[in-house]
Symmetry: C2
Subunit: 185 residues, 2 copies
């Protein structure tokens, strides 16, 4: 079924995603990527002509994973709080990947920027739909704006993914999601 060419391309995208998470788009070179994949720089550029193409493919693949996992949550999980904790956990490494792509966004070429916008818009769309239904089910105040709620949740997910990599002596790790720190009243 799968041509050898496709396998290689997926391998490259996988390793590239790991490098983006670890160092950001401007923190690694196409040479380093080629070395880690085990091919030459020229072979890498045969599969992805420019670094823009590569980053765009990483973002597009991420978007597919996100949509697939969030669709499952929308179908199988009930309750806003439960959906959010599942949503956060299902993202896994993609939370950090998206956070790094967003951080690098202003420096990315246009093709990559378009893909980053899409993955971010899609994820925010899922969270917004979760919030909209939660409001319908009286789990959220009627005057809560689903898209704003989604924005806040998304910000905390991405921010947590970044902060967790900085070991702060004497402090607790950032809990990925704590939806219960609200006011006592």
């Amino acid at each position: 079924m799968a041509k050898r060419k496709d396998v290689t391309k997926e391998q490259i995208i996988e390793v590239a995603g790991r490098l983006v998470r670890a160092k950001g788009c401007n923190g690694f070179s196409t040479r380093q990527l080629a070395d880690e994949v085990g091919i030459s720089s020229a072979s890498l550029h045969h599969h992805f002509t420019t670094k823009d193409d590569l980053i765009a493919a990483v973002a597009a693949t991420c978007r597919d994973r996100v949509n697939r996992s969030q669709r499952v949550i929308a179908a199988e999980i009930e309750g806003f709080a439960l959906r959010l904790s599942h949503a956060s956990e299902a993202l896994g490494d993609d939370a950090l990947l998206i956070a790094m792509l967003v951080a690098d966004f202003p420096t990315l070429p246009s093709k990559s920027q378009d893909e980053v916008r899409q993955v971010l818009a899609n994820l925010r769309g899922w969270l917004s739909r979760f919030a909209a239904q939660a409001r319908s089910d009286a789990e959220l105040h009627v005057d809560a704006v689903p898209d704003q709620v989604a924005g806040n949740v998304l910000a905390e997910i991405l921010g947590s993914a970044l902060i967790q990599r900085v070991a702060l002596p004497g402090t607790l790790p950032v809990p990925p999601m704590t939806w219960g720190w609200q006011r006592a009243d």
Copy 2:
């Protein structure tokens, strides 16, 4: 009072901070920084021998601003929600600066890493003290863990700063702080 040397150094740090916010630590060169300041690359390296020294100075200066502004809030503002909104607004551009430094953290040399850890620990410390007092004043549930609450707040502040730069067509901007999207019950 201030020697001309110090003025130049502060100017460099200011422009460097702007570049870090816009492009990240790996998204600009010392040459570009020197050009924007209006001096040669060699002159820049006279003030900051290595890029590590430069980034560390940017982070240290940021830390001073953060501690100064949060100290004022701790002294003059009462109430958890009000303190948080003031804290977020008082950070201003430093929220994005800290977010970018955290995103670049794994690629930074050790001196810069130490400074980034410090500014992050200090800011989390302020937020944690705000949460601790809020718990004492029954503004938070007694079983809320101040340091965890601080971590979640910090994550949302940094995440919001990043997301706001990605224009998502058809969605509302991420509100910097919405502390009222909790459950209806």
